[in-house]
């Protein structure tokens, strides 16, 4: 019966960040990492690029093959956890084995939230979350000529781009009135939509799918405006939900995700959680949020690992700060911090620079003398430096105008004064 001091369930960004943080402090104690994937760890973010061939599925791994052995970590691949027994401090695996632990990190991530649409469950729809999803989809592209994507979120848009690059005819259906509605305002979304349409991708906005059925060579979709579409491939990309079926304990506090404190501790003893599974405190003071972004997974994983290993330099989680960089067809957009304010901008000072013809957009949002959010398309700046200005709440009292005019130069200058 395997026993370990640290057990990490899930092996993507959060799990690996925790593992690194633990090994920095505790080089020798036993660590077991359980992954339901068959191979080495990878990031779901890279999967759309597998479709277009931009990423080689043999080379997207986050760590080299000998990493776990060199770190003296036992990696158990192809093993899914079926139950967490927090009182007995053990987990059950799908092959019947049990692992006993002192401390456990749950980093099992998320899976696609499949919408409830009549006929969808009986149709041969696909999702894109795991490597085998990507490989299946890539192989299907060879015979398929067209695809419908449900949802214009980041996964849907990335997938649309890569399928188009692979030579397919692509239609994106989004229920809300713009693409990427969780990350970008209508100005940014308009520029992004234009670029997609210029690449021959159809984007249907404000259109809910009422009915799906399978056809001889794919799927047919009915929209609420009466339009009927058909394609060889139907991909559901309408958001994600936590992978937590193995948690049966009613005392585990959860909402949209597992609720954690600022050290990623859950309500259960000796159980930590991080990444796309958790709902953590919001940096901007709006309670807690389910963020499910790559940077939050890295930071939460690190915080959890530091706490688990009793790192004397352990830091508390700074809070969820949305941070999205989105590149598409050689262009890019970013949405950092509290950038999704309502259209009126009430309560904030907002500086806009908008030139749709140049496909350039920039919006800086200040609260008092602090920058709290930044959004834009194709504007030259360093998102990491801007993010740090937000995170540090740097006083920008006399610099707001300069920052708007020179959003790369001014933050770099502040950087060399404040955190060089």
């Amino acid at each position: 019966m395997p026993e370990t001091k640290y057990l990490i369930v899930g092996c993507s960004h959060a799990g690996l960040a925790a593992l690194d943080a633990i090994r920095l402090i505790d080089a020798d104690s036993p660590v077991i990492v359980v992954s339901k994937e068959a191979g080495l760890p990878y990031s779901p973010t890279s999967l759309p690029y597998v479709l277009s061939g931009k990423a080689d599925p043999e080379r997207i791994f986050l760590r080299p093959a000998d990493y776990f052995e060199r770190s003296r970590v036992q990696l158990m691949t192809g093993s899914a956890v079926t139950a967490l027994n927090s009182k007995a401090k053990s987990v059950d695996l799908d092959d019947g084995r049990q692992i006993f632990y002192d401390k456990i990190l749950l980093a099992t991530g998320a899976r696609p939230a499949v919408p409830e649409i009549v006929g969808l469950s009986r149709a041969p729809y696909l999702v894109l979350r795991a490597l085998n999803d990507a490989v299946t989809l890539r192989d299907r592209i060879k015979q398929a000529g067209s695809a419908i994507i449900l949802g214009a979120g980041l996964i849907g848009m990335h997938t649309a781009e890569n399928l188009a690059l692979a030579g397919m005819e692509v239609t994106v259906v989004e229920a809300r009135q713009q693409v990427l509605p969780d990350y970008f305002d209508s100005n940014a979304a308009e520029i992004i939509s234009q670029v997609f349409q210029n690449q021959g991708i159809k984007i249907l906005l404000g259109n809910a799918v009422t009915h799906v059925k399978s056809t001889n060579n794919g799927c047919a979709v009915s929209l609420n405006d009466g339009l009927d579409l058909s394609a060889n491939i139907l991909l559901a990309a309408t958001g994600v939900q936590p992978c937590w079926e193995y948690i049966n304990d009613p005392t585990m506090e959860r909402d949209r995700g597992i609720l954690v404190d600022d050290h990623m501790r859950t309500s259960l003893d000796s159980v930590w959680a991080a990444g796309d599974l958790v709902q953590a405190r919001d940096f901007f003071g709006n309670g807690s949020s389910y963020l499910a972004t790559l940077p939050s997974a890295v930071n939460q994983g690190r915080v959890a690992g530091e706490d688990m290993a009793h790192d004397p330099e352990a830091t508390a989680y700074i809070g969820n700060i949305p941070a999205n960089t989105y590149s598409f067809f050689g262009q890019w957009a970013y949405s950092l911090g509290h950038a999704m304010i309502d259209e009126s901008g009430a309560g904030y000072e907002v500086n806009y620079t908008y030139s749709p013809t140049c496909r350039r957009y920039q919006k800086l949002i200040f609260e008092g003398d602090h920058l709290i959010g930044a959004m834009g398309v194709n504007s030259d700046l360093d998102p990491g430096v801007i993010f740090e200005l937000i995170q540090r709440k740097v006083d920008l009292a006399n610099l707001k105008e300069e920052l708007t005019v020179a959003p790369q130069k001014v933050p770099r200058y502040l950087m060399t004064k404040l955190w060089r």
Binding site: H13, S43, S327, Y334, D382, R412, T416
Partner: protein, 439 residues
């Protein structure tokens, strides 16, 4: 344990914003002078002349690497470089969001991200910088190299907390190797365990404990014997300032004048520390010791320290140098030269050795005290090679910090009056002026 790595250091006070580094980088990486391709970017306003740097730090735990979904960024464990593999980069720019130093940036001209790779260990930007603002610090290789050598000193010692003698002793013996005879006269160095306990020696080399007066004479005799029987053995003395500059001086002076072959290291902690902090000939002006007390009349030592390394230089030694444990790379180079010089005659290294116990400062400030002593020119780092016939500074003596920055760190100077501080400042100025006469 982890390795030390070579890094690019930036001295903003030397930078004048000429941007030659950017041009050199662009030329090297792209073949054009267009700074858009430069991995190093100078930031700041010409008006206020405060320059900064946007450049990859080659972090120990790189945030960019942790955020890369394609596995395109890796830390090279041999060179320390955070390497970017273009063939694995999916172009998501997550790294540019993860780095708070603008060390990995997007290049619109190429449509790819870019970052510094230290030019395979020979950075073009550093070579192009004529202002001295960029320096490629290569000392890491020395630390790794020395770390691999065998430690010839006892694992446990009885030194005070924060004593730098252990650092000095272990690293010196590693380099000298086992084919060495060590002499440690009475003093801290012998007391902390060099000569050993219970009939066992504290080193893995032959070691003996001469009188305070005759260290150099005994080593000279031992060396002559080995020469006579045809064995090449290095002689090494670890003496305090008492054993070198005061009580031990006549035998050292004689041995130096005769050109006896040895490496004589004076660990100068500016007084008789292990016997209760009494003054010595190298105790500086104004310093408190138990025999130069501070009261209503006396305010510490009333005489200046004698310039022992200069006195040794005047003996026509093969090699004389000053050193500090705050500048170990400098010490390593000097020790190599001293070992080579000891094949011909006397090599003397005077190591400035702050003493937390006797000088009254926190052990955690040891290296800081050592560094400030050098930066204020109170302990100029220099070397004298007889073959060259002149003295050379190994750390710039231009633009020194005011001496208060050093004195304020140390309890034995807490009582100083403005006149005393001014006297010490003038002493520092005068000493550098004197040393420059020999360059």
């Amino acid at each position: 344990m982890g390795l030390s790595y070579r890094v690019i250091a930036f001295r903003p006070e030397q930078c004048d914003g000429c941007l030659e580094c950017e041009t050199a980088c662009s030329r090297s990486k792209n073949g054009t002078a267009d700074p858009a391709h430069s991995r190093i970017r100078i930031t700041g306003e010409p008006a206020d002349k405060r320059w900064g740097l946007a450049l990859c730090r080659q972090c120990g735990q790189p945030s960019c690497l942790m955020h890369c979904p394609g596995g395109a960024l890796t830390k090279n464990e041999q060179t320390g470089v955070v390497e970017w593999d273009e063939s694995r980069c999916i172009g998501c720019r997550m790294c540019t969001q993860a780095c708070i130093f603008a060390g990995v940036t997007y290049n619109p001209a190429s449509g790819r991200v870019m970052k510094c790779d230290l030019c395979q260990g020979d950075p073009e930007c550093v070579k192009a910088c004529s202002r001295g603002a960029l320096e490629y610090l290569t000392a890491a290789g020395l630390y790794n190299q020395w770390g691999d050598l065998e430690d010839l000193f006892v694992p446990g010692i009885s030194a005070c907390l924060g004593c730098n003698s252990e650092l000095l002793m272990r690293h010196t013996l590693r380099r000298m190797g086992p084919n060495t005879v060590v002499a440690t006269p009475p003093g801290c160095t012998a007391g902390i365990g060099t000569v050993g306990y219970n009939g066992l020696t504290g080193t893995k080399t032959p070691v003996f404990h001469p009188l305070l007066t005759n260290t150099a004479a005994m080593l000279a005799g031992a060396k002559r014997y080995y020469n006579r029987i045809g064995r090449d053995v290095t002689m090494l003395a670890f003496a305090g300032d008492g054993g070198a500059a005061d009580v031990g001086f006549q035998s050292l002076s004689g041995a130096a004048e005769r050109g006896e072959q040895m490496v004589f290291i004076c660990i100068d902690n500016e007084g008789y520390m292990n016997t209760g902090v009494q003054r010595s000939g190298t105790t500086p002006f104004g310093a408190w010791t138990s025999t130069t007390p501070v009261g209503s009349v006396l305010k510490g030592k009333t005489r200046d320290a004698k310039p022992m390394p200069v006195i040794m230089m005047m003996h026509n030694c093969e090699y004389v140098a000053t050193a500090s444990t705050a500048f170990m790379d400098d010490y390593y180079r000097k020790l190599d030269k001293a070992i080579a010089a000891s094949k011909k005659g006397m090599a003397y290294i005077h190591v400035f050795s702050p003493c937390p116990t006797g000088w009254r400062f926190s052990p955690s400030r040891l290296i800081e005290v050592g560094r400030k002593a050098v930066l204020t020119n109170l302990v100029p780092l220099w070397e004298y090679e007889y073959a060259q016939g002149k003295l050379g500074f190994t750390h710039s003596v231009d633009n020194p910090l005011p001496v208060q920055e050093y004195l304020g760190l140390i309890g034995k100077y807490r009582h100083l009056s403005e006149e005393q501080i001014e006297h010490i400042q003038q002493t520092a100025i005068r000493r550098v002026k004197m040393l420059k006469n020999f360059t």
